[in-house]
């Protein structure tokens, strides 16, 4: 071999260490996926509701959105994870409480995206469609829906990227995800011939996250340009 790899890198690819790291990344990605499965349909329903501007419901939803927006996600995670056991006596795992929190957050964000997209349909378009003799449902289906979907999809992908990045916080409520697996690998090899292991492990995790999120970001901005 002309170039010799640093011993730290061989440790990372030794045995099933690298697979375990990928498994850890999958843990946090799967939290985001489960949360989205709950959040997308609910968020769309609530977003449509919000765009109707019903007095009381609108105020409640607005409060919910602002609360979720203003609290750091980590605070929400702590709230659900600790109070569920202390106050309600429900012993849910860190994983489950993460799905709940990210679900809640996703619903709020998607609700606002949907409302924004519906509100941004130009009035003139709706009026033009109505003056052509379309019925209310036809206007909704043929004018509002395509316009809204076009706006929504890139924003939704951006939200997914944000969520995947944010689920890395679950390590702080004891979920074994990629950072935790990284720590385990570092600890297990503490007394071996890889003194700089921590540097390489965290670098690899950094790059893994980048490889997971970057394609989504690129895809979203490409779609945004294309749909315009």
């Amino acid at each position: 071999m002309l170039i010799s790899l640093p011993p730290e890198l061989t440790v990372i690819f030794e045995g099933n260490n690298f697979l375990r790291l990928l498994g850890g990344l999958w843990t946090s990605v799967s939290i985001a996926l489960f949360a989205l499965i709950i959040a997308i349909p609910l968020g769309i329903i609530l977003g449509c509701l919000q765009s109707m501007k019903l007095p009381l419901i609108s105020a409640i939803l607005k409060f919910y959105l602002e609360f979720v927006r203003i609290m750091p996600q980590l605070v929400l995670l702590f709230l659900v994870f600790f109070t569920s056991a202390k106050t309600f006596g429900i012993d849910i795992s860190g994983y489950a409480s993460a799905v709940v929190v990210f679900g809640f957050w996703g619903v709020a964000e998607i609700m606002d995206l949907v409302r924004g997209a519906i509100d941004s349909v130009p009035r003139t378009q709706i009026e033009a469609a109505t003056s052509l003799g379309m019925r209310h449902l036809q206007v909704q289906y043929l004018v509002t829906l395509p316009f809204t979907v076009r706006q929504l999809i890139p924003q939704l992908i951006n939200l997914i990227t944000r969520m995947v990045k944010t689920t890395s916080l679950v390590v702080l409520i004891g979920v074994v995800e990629v950072l935790k697996v990284g720590q385990q690998i570092i600890d297990a090899n503490r007394f071996t011939t890889a003194p700089e292991l921590a540097f390489w492990v965290y670098l690899v995790i950094f790059l893994l996250y980048f490889l997971a999120c970057w394609p989504l970001t690129i895809f979203a901005s490409w779609l945004e340009k294309k749909l315009k």
Binding site: E66, R69, I70, M71, P72, Q73, L74, V75, F78, L79, F82, T83, K86, T87, T161, K165, T166, S168, L169, V171, L172, L179, G182, P195, E196, L197, A198, F199, W200, V201, Y202, L203, I205, F206, Y209, F210, C213, W214, T217
Partner: protein
């Protein structure tokens, strides 16, 4: 719990300190990055492009782990507070740069070309033509980034800083006062973030009229 209030005030101080320098640094570095990108300065432009993509597509917690636990192994060592601020600036500057970039795009190319045809230097074009017009456009996303960054400071507890999050965790562990500690935590964050959010709304409104 009353005796814990001074502790919360101290911890909130740490959070605000990190957030303040983090946001300020992000604005400065982000602006410089976007200027370099805007004028397509040969090598620097590509470097800052890579920097922005790397910082924007990775979570802050991973960045902090790398800076605090990874870099010392190769001889680069920072204190907890410095690590937190560097991490926040690394993440934030990429977001701020994107905000500036999309605002610069609103100003048509003709204007900067006309200005340079009149003999203005690049710095003058930036400061006298582009910035005054694009700043109002950038404000909403800059304020959104600011709020996002202040919220992101909640993860700095992992580099052994006694911020609000770390304090709440300690109080839960020491006194088992879970609900009280978390309630205070929510109140503390609301007290920090609500004024910022309201101020952001106010500025956005003013800017909208100016536009």
């Amino acid at each position: 719990m009353r005796e814990c209030i001074p502790l919360y005030i101290d911890a909130a101080g740490v959070t605000v300190l990190v957030a303040f320098f983090g946001v300020l640094g992000s604005l400065l570095v982000g602006f410089l990055l976007s200027v370099v990108r805007f004028f397509k300065v040969p090598v620097l432009s590509n470097v800052s492009g890579i920097y922005i993509e790397l910082a924007r597509n990775t979570p802050l917690i991973v960045q902090l782990y790398f800076i605090y636990y990874g870099l010392p192994k190769v001889g680069i060592r920072f204190s907890s507070l410095t690590t937190a601020i560097i991490g926040l600036v690394f993440l934030g500057s990429a977001y701020m740069a994107e905000s500036f970039r999309s605002a610069f795009e609103v100003i048509s190319k003709d204007q900067s070309e006309a200005a340079s045809a009149l003999g203005m230097s690049r710095i003058k074009v930036m400061l006298l033509i582009i910035l005054p017009q694009s700043l109002p456009v950038a404000v909403p996303s800059l304020t959104a980034n600011t709020i996002f960054l202040v919220k992101e400071t909640s993860v700095v507890s992992i580099v052994a800083l006694m911020d609000l999050m770390n304090l709440a965790k300690d109080i839960i562990a020491l006194y088992y006062k879970t609900n009280e500690a978390l309630f205070m935590l929510v109140v503390a964050y609301a007290l920090i973030l609500l004024p910022i959010s309201l101020f952001a709304h106010f500025v956005e409104k003013r800017v909208k009229y100016a536009h």
